[in-house]
Symmetry: C2
């Protein structure tokens, strides 16, 4: 029966790959042989363009142009230039997105500035199940500003906001990093606005794979990661979005020379730059931005809607494969397309060891506490055939109880 199922699924995989051929960018990426990489939601794969952009930034721009590269290679304006490219991917207008600091620092800037725009209100909402840095940084801002942090699941946010007048800011992730659940940005934002509050969205697990729709959804602020689906490289600069209507009132809590109206006048008085530039702080991380800018060329000529359709097809097909192959782990991620990001999370009591055993078989995913096998589907470089291969190897790992081997039990320092 299994052989029949596999053959049937293989045919289906080829059909689906043919159907989605226009969004196949596998050749733009460098992936080791024998690997199905299902961790592009943690560290996106290296692309040829990112590799070449970094090499050029180091060897020609830094090495030969030296200080002149700030002008000659337009390093100074790279944060806005790359920000504009990301803006297109997340449904925001030009001039509203800038790259530079880490995601956490970016979130600090956005949450701090947002909360101060509603000074008469004392509550900030965030998700207790957010990626922890979101909770930490928001808690820290609340302590500094004398506000109350209220942990409310995004599923309960609309009810909490309805009829309320105490919330300054609702700060949520569009896609849950652990379960892969996609939350309704427009509905939660509308509820925040109806209650006189602002919204801030963490797009770490949605930028590049979901039709984020910042403008369409009315989002006030957003941040996102450069190194997950955008494949900008390890620790790539994050981005911050400020809606056009808030730019004039945006007060960066970290006042630096890069956010100054006239940075080279070297004046000790701070005058915030116009527009999104005021969200900049220090000298931009040029090498990281170069890699990210190169990586983003993988989206050239692609419609995010088509990428999203490919992503949904890949994740749905993976679940279909699990069913067809008789793998009966609980699927944590919603089956409903409208509620699913670009990942499939499975539950297993030995999830850590299962992930290690899968890695030994060439299927790289990751483990998340307490019992989640988390598999991310970066649509640009994964095919339906890859997805089937991963499902078959997962079946083998489970059927052969490979995860019970002692070598897979020891936790690495970074999991």
């Amino acid at each position: 029966m299994t052989d029949d199922s596999t053959a049937r699924l293989a045919t289906r995989a080829r059909e689906l790959d043919a159907e989605h051929v226009s969004t196949d960018r596998r050749n733009a990426f460098v992936l080791p042989d024998g690997v199905v990489y299902l961790d592009g939601n943690s560290l996106g794969a290296l692309s040829v363009a990112a590799r070449e952009a970094t090499r050029d930034a180091v060897e020609r721009q830094w090495g030969e142009q030296l200080i002149r590269a700030w002008n000659d290679s337009e390093w100074w304006t790279a944060p806005e230039r790359v920000g504009n490219r990301i803006a297109e991917l997340v449904g925001a207008p030009a001039g509203t997105v800038v790259v530079g600091d880490s995601t956490t620092v970016s979130l600090y800037k956005a949450v701090h500035a947002a909360a101060r725009m509603r000074p008469e209100r004392r509550v900030v909402l965030t998700d207790p199940d957010s990626f922890p840095t979101d909770v930490h940084v928001t808690r820290g801002v609340c302590e500094q500003l004398g506000l109350t942090l209220e942990l409310v699941s995004p599923g309960d946010a609309v009810a909490r906001l309805e009829g309320s007048d105490d919330v300054a800011l609702a700060s949520y992730s569009q896609v849950d990093y652990r379960t892969g659940e996609l939350w309704d940005l427009a509905t939660i934002t509308a509820a925040a606005h109806d209650a006189g509050a602002l919204s801030c969205w963490d797009l770490c697990h949605s930028a590049g794979v979901v039709e984020v729709g910042l403008t369409a959804g009315g989002a006030d602020f957003a941040v996102g990661c450069g190194y997950k689906y955008l494949s900008g490289g390890p620790g790539a600069p994050a981005f911050v979005f400020v809606a056009p209507e808030h730019l004039a009132d945006f007060t960066n809590p970290i006042l630096g020379w890069n956010g100054h109206a006239t940075p080279f006048a070297m004046s000790p008085d701070h005058v915030a730059a116009d527009g999104i530039t005021r969200a900049r702080v220090g000298t931009p991380p040029v090498l990281g931005i170069a890699a990210l800018e190169g990586a983003l060329t993988a989206y050239d000529g692609l419609d995010v809607g088509d990428v999203r359709r490919r992503s949904l097809s890949l994740t749905a097909f993976f679940v279909e494969c699990l069913g067809g192959l008789g793998v009966d782990l609980p699927v944590v991620t919603p089956a409903d397309d409208a509620r699913r990001g670009s990942q499939v999370s499975l539950r297993h009591p030995d999830a850590y060891a299962v992930v290690q055993a899968l890695i030994a078989r060439g299927v790289i995913g990751d483990f998340r506490e307490p019992d989640i096998v988390r598999l991310g589907f970066a649509p640009l470089y994964l095919s339906h055939e890859d997805v089937l291969a991963a499902a078959v190897l997962l079946r083998d790992v489970l059927d052969g109880r490979e995860f019970e081997r002692a070598e897979f039990a020891t936790r690495a320092a970074v999991t």
Copy 2:
């Protein structure tokens, strides 16, 4: 006469280069032909090791190891590992320095945390002539914490501190970015301590070229730049130092998962990590750290005292060359070795155009408002022969009034 002078100076240059041969690391760096690079205090030159480290981080670690590199290439612990290497250069013990964010963000963390350690005191001192980002970020912290920013020159800081009881923090640069003046870290720090205040030092223009002496001078906090004399690459991660006695009380204003005691437990409660790790915030900029770590190998086997002696010899010889060649521009930088960093700043009414004309002749320095020709002497890759060549070209630019050419008058976007 000039030919005689030049010949005499050339002999002297060769003698000095022979005397300082043990600190010559020119072959470790990649510099374009025909360039004397006197801007290593703005963007340090590319080294072979930085180039190779970045290439390895991109192509092998990211490209092949992918997510496994966090363990296999020890990315996770790189901020502390590279911090420890910098600690050696600035006279600090292991476990007190970490790299990661930009200089401005690092200063925000240090100044914010320091000011909160003296809650009963309402004044923060800083230098009105600091690099502006220092003033901006400190002013922002003061506004947030309800403190008073008092702009006091480092030359007046001891008098201001004496007998006072209102100062929480004295925050100064060890070397003035514009004039190159070296301030006395130990004396100002002692005055701060006598007045019950803390000190924070910006080492951007001293790390790697001055015997900084953080521990010897009793400094409480410090930050510094990775991309100037340390040659870590454009926008390289900065570093932050917290003295051992303050680590337990250091409260990072930006609470992120990288500063958490158990980041992978994914707990929404924030428990600060022990030691300097609590000064971390978000995911580290791995590519930037790789370049910086490579660059720092240029210091392997070198004593900072010897590097300092070479630096002083280079800057003193440059001034000697100006005298010998009849260049009579006012020298802004102190002649006294004890008060001079690793640069020589000259005053000229057409300073911007002079710098442009020098660049056209292959001598790369920079301009600083309002009338400063700023020349930095990165000791590891500059020789006394380079210094003489630069002085000769400066004389030619001035004697030939080359700076009056129209093409040198137009300001570039980034100056």
